[in-house]
């Protein structure tokens, strides 16, 4: 106990005590303990997660030396992985798919959230409850579902071939053989992630403003463009950067389509599990981490701005 009290107090007074209280020796001990008590979770996560992550970065930079005991192990360096044209295509695919999906989610999410918030209908609350539940479902569920609808032997194909008299075997053929199936699945799964911050932002808008604008003769389109959109802009950017990050990191949706169109997470899994090319997987992982960390930092900043300087964002 004495050794603890002798430590220099690393933090200002702990929050549990009112500031008017005089600093007694017992308080001092408690203060030091408060600091100590906060370390175990960090140490635990550090050992279980941060250290492994550091090893990934280390192996990506160092590459893998030839291993005499394991002749099947592929040897690569960071630059080898980056220079490979196949890898470059996958990086391009990843960014492209993330951007397309995010744009789709933002447009659809904005329209749907707008209707829920400003053209209320009976059951609107149930719908937003449904969205909350939807957010906790796994993403691959969407791929499994739309296969039955739009897949090669799916419902829509059967109807379409019945309508065309069976001349075309598979009139609709995009789920398994083109990126559009992944795009559709990501649109469905990630749109609710955009809607939630938007609904929060819309609920904070003073409806009086909308009525004033309307009474001055502004049509709905103009009210949306000049009143609602500027107010909701931080939420749009926050939702957008979150979805951009999530789509870039998405594994389930892409792998369930059969992975003919590969993105970084799928290729990482393939490198590590099928090719035992750990150095290559680590190199790709570093690229993926850098991309998504940048987006996540942006998301956090925008979210803070959304709750803090809502007005400032409007007048910027």
């Amino acid at each position: 106990m004495t050794t603890v009290t002798e430590l220099p107090p690393p933090t200002p007074p702990a929050p549990a005590m009112p500031s008017s209280r005089p600093a007694a020796p017992a308080n001092k001990a408690r203060r030091s303990l408060a600091w100590l008590w906060s370390t175990p979770p960090i140490l635990l996560l550090g050992a279980a997660f941060l250290y492994p992550l550091y090893l990934v970065v280390k192996q990506a930079i160092e590459g893998s030396p030839p291993d005499p005991t394991n002749p099947f192990k592929v040897t690569t360096s960071f630059m080898d992985t980056l220079k490979d044209p196949g890898t470059r295509t996958v990086i391009k695919n990843t960014i492209q798919m993330a951007v397309y999906s995010t744009v789709g989610c933002l447009v659809l999410g904005f329209v749907l959230a707008l209707i829920i918030a400003f053209v209320p209908f009976p059951g609107a609350r149930a719908v937003s409850r449904f969205i909350d539940v939807f957010l906790s479902f796994p993403s691959f569920l969407v791929t499994v579902s739309i296969m039955f609808l739009y897949g090669r032997v799916g419902m829509v194909n059967h109807i379409a071939s019945a309508l065309t008299g069976g001349r075309h075997d598979t009139p609709i053929n995009f789920i398994e053989y083109s990126p559009w199936g992944i795009w559709l699945a990501e649109l469905i799964y990630f749109t609710p992630f955009v809607m939630r911050p938007l609904l929060t932002a819309f609920s904070q808008i003073d409806t009086g403003q909308l009525e004033v604008a309307a009474s001055l003769g502004a049509r709905a389109g103009r009210v949306i463009w000049q009143v609602i959109l500027p107010e909701a802009l931080p939420a749009v950017f926050a939702g957008g950067s979150l979805v951009l990050m999530l789509t870039m990191n998405e594994y389930g949706i892409v792998s369930f389509t059969g992975a003919k169109y590969q993105t970084l997470p799928v290729l990482i899994e393939n490198f590590a599990k099928e090719q035992t090319n750990y150095a290559g997987a680590c190199a790709l992982a570093v690229i993926n981490i850098v991309l998504s960390l940048a987006l996540f930092a942006g998301y956090r900043v925008l979210l803070a701005r959304m709750s803090g300087g809502r007005r400032a964002a409007v007048h910027a």
């Binding site: 933090t11 200002p12 007074p13 929050p15 549990a16 005590m17 009112p18 408060a34 600091w35 008590w37 906060s38 175990p40 979770p41 635990l44 996560l45 279980a48 997660f49 941060l50 250290y51 492994p52 990934v56 659809l108 329209v111 749907l112 707008l114 829920i116 400003f118 053209v119 449904f130 539940v133 479902f137 796994p138 993403s139 569920l141 579902s145 296969m147 039955f148 032997v153 419902m155 059967h158 019945a162 469905i188 409806t207 909308l210 709905a220 990191n249 594994y251 389930g252 792998s255 997470p265 799928v266 990482i268 899994e269 599990k273 750990y278 680590c282 993926n288 981490i289 996540f296 956090r300």
Partner: protein
């Protein structure tokens, strides 16, 4: 209110209904339909059966269900303890550096792709003093790391909303910090704790990316079984297992939301 004519409102609702039904309701409906399908050669299933669902409860996938339930339960409990602890620590630490450190470390698993979380564990624990590759521990570990971030996020949001007057009153009456924590703070946080436990459970049940990296043949979770079924062409059984998994997740969320409302009234 944005639209003032009845016609314009109807058009807006029609747009909403169209997209909602086409993109959200229809896929779910078809999934449930497929779960009971025996043969599907036309626009609609030609014959129905209950055997997919019973197959979902038989030997092979059932092991997956058990594995998934155990993994989800363990990892969400670990995440709840760690996340709550870190959230309370974030509140207690007053200097900026410490706050930023805790926030960064505990939000990082959300930003890092789940596949990379799995890869990191694989790289770290396939060599060196601690060998976990191929054990069930590494699967639980991966899930715990991923869901801890969400528990932390939820609980720390609730901690900042907490009225400091309660714990100040307790402290002024002479309650020691641990007593204040146990008898004042944690009971006030109960709704957030159960809520984040349910979220963590749901997320862990559906986790695929990290699990695909670290799983072993004797500890294969439900999403991986569904992937294998789908891959081998047993689409209807895959749909049935998915539906069973969804139902269980929903039931857990529902039960926990009941607890939550009761705690709110206390």
């Amino acid at each position: 209110m944005l639209l003032y004519t009845r016609r314009a409102q109807r058009i807006a609702w029609a747009v909403f209904a169209f997209f909602f039904l086409l993109l959200f309701a229809l896929p779910f409906g078809v999934l449930v339909l497929a779960a009971f399908t025996k043969q599907w050669n036309g626009a609609f299933p030609s014959s129905y059966t209950f055997s997919n669902v019973t197959a979902a409860f038989h030997t092979d996938p059932l092991d997956g269900l058990e594995t998934s339930l155990i993994t989800a339960l363990l990892s969400s409990l670990i995440a709840l303890v760690l996340g709550t602890w870190a959230a309370l620590a974030l509140d207690a630490v007053r200097n900026r550096v410490g706050k930023t450190l805790i926030q960064t470390v505990f939000m990082l698993p959300i930003a890092v792709p789940s596949v990379v979380v799995g890869l990191a564990l694989l790289v770290a624990f396939s060599q060196g003093p601690v060998l976990l590759n191929g054990t069930n521990t590494i699967v639980v570990m991966a899930h715990s790391i991923l869901v801890t971030a969400y528990a932390f996020q939820q609980v720390s949001a609730a901690v900042t909303r907490l009225d400091p007057a309660y714990e100040q009153a307790a402290a002024s009456l002479g309650a020691r910090p641990y007593y204040t924590l146990l008898r004042v703070k944690l009971p006030l946080l109960l709704p957030a704790l159960t809520g984040s436990l349910a979220l963590c459970f749901a997320l862990s049940m559906g986790e695929l990316g990290a699990t695909a990296m670290v799983y072993s043949a004797n500890w294969t979770t439900l999403p991986l079984r569904i992937y294998a079924l789908d891959d081998r062409g047993h689409q209807f059984v895959a749909a049935a297992v998915t539906a069973v998994m969804m139902t269980i997740t929903l039931a857990v969320l529902l039960v926990v939301s009941r607890i939550r409302t009761r705690a709110n009234y206390r």
